[in-house]
Symmetry: C2
Subunit: 119 residues, 2 copies
DNA sequence: GGAACGTATCGGTATTGGCCGATGTGATCA
DNA sequence: TGATCACATCGGCCAATACCGATACGTTCC
């Protein structure tokens, strides 16, 4: 029962839903998430902790960056959940705005480098 | 997004998962739930409030009793969620115990009367 | 080595949430 | 009408959590 409860906690906050929604479009590092959602880095970091404790993500360190990605179970779970609430989510302004900003942010990626990857 | 978050909150506590799990076997009144789960009436009532706010249940008053039942959307949602976590939930001692006690409790129902329905 | 950056963690504060006993409310029954 | 029962709500208490700024840690680059 604990797994279910932890997963539910991960979805029980709007900011975390936004994080998980953003991660559905692929692996992201913290600064990309932070920019896309417009939340403080420390706030985001604690939300990511909750999501980690629910075992929904894998993390990968590359240079100074930490990339978060949904694991396969989380992908299946979130597909189910987001499909179920598809109508509601489709009309959520925050999610739309996040997606827009994320898209712009990702367009700035250069050769797989996440953050202002000027060499 | 709010619907999703409220539903997740409803599932984000072990006691509430037990309540929802019990309700999956049919309409129940508060005292039946209270007996089955072995939780205080006031505690149960506040959990039911959270579940109500998530719009997962309908309530029906009959005499002094209030019967709670999952609405159709909640049934679909919980089927999805409980199926997803089926392995984990199957080995949850609390849920097993609740189910046992609920069964015994329901066997004492007489002619649809919920609680010690002595006439 | 030192500066700059990305991320995690800490300290503090305000809010929320769980639990309980007590009280309020409405229905039943004598 | 008064007693009793089922349920909801309140008030108090404590733990958990959301948020932020500040700090710590590790990496990269000079």
């Amino acid at each position: 029962m604990n797994e279910l409860v932890l997963a539910a906690k991960a979805l029980a906050d709007p900011t975390r839903v936004r994080v998980l929604s953003a991660l559905r479009s692929g692996e992201l590092c913290v600064c990309e998430l932070s920019d896309a959602l417009g939340v403080t880095q420390s706030t985001l970091s604690t939300h990511l902790q909750v999501i980690r404790e629910a075992d929904l993500v894998t993390t990968r360190k590359e240079g100074k960056w930490v990339y978060y990605a949904l694991n396969s179970e989380a992908k299946r779970l979130l597909k189910g959940v987001f499909d179920f609430f598809a109508d509601e989510l489709a009309s959520a302004p925050l999610l739309r705005r996040d997606a827009d900003r994320l898209k712009k942010r990702l367009d700035e990626r250069e050769d797989g480098a996440c953050c202002r990857g000027f060499s």
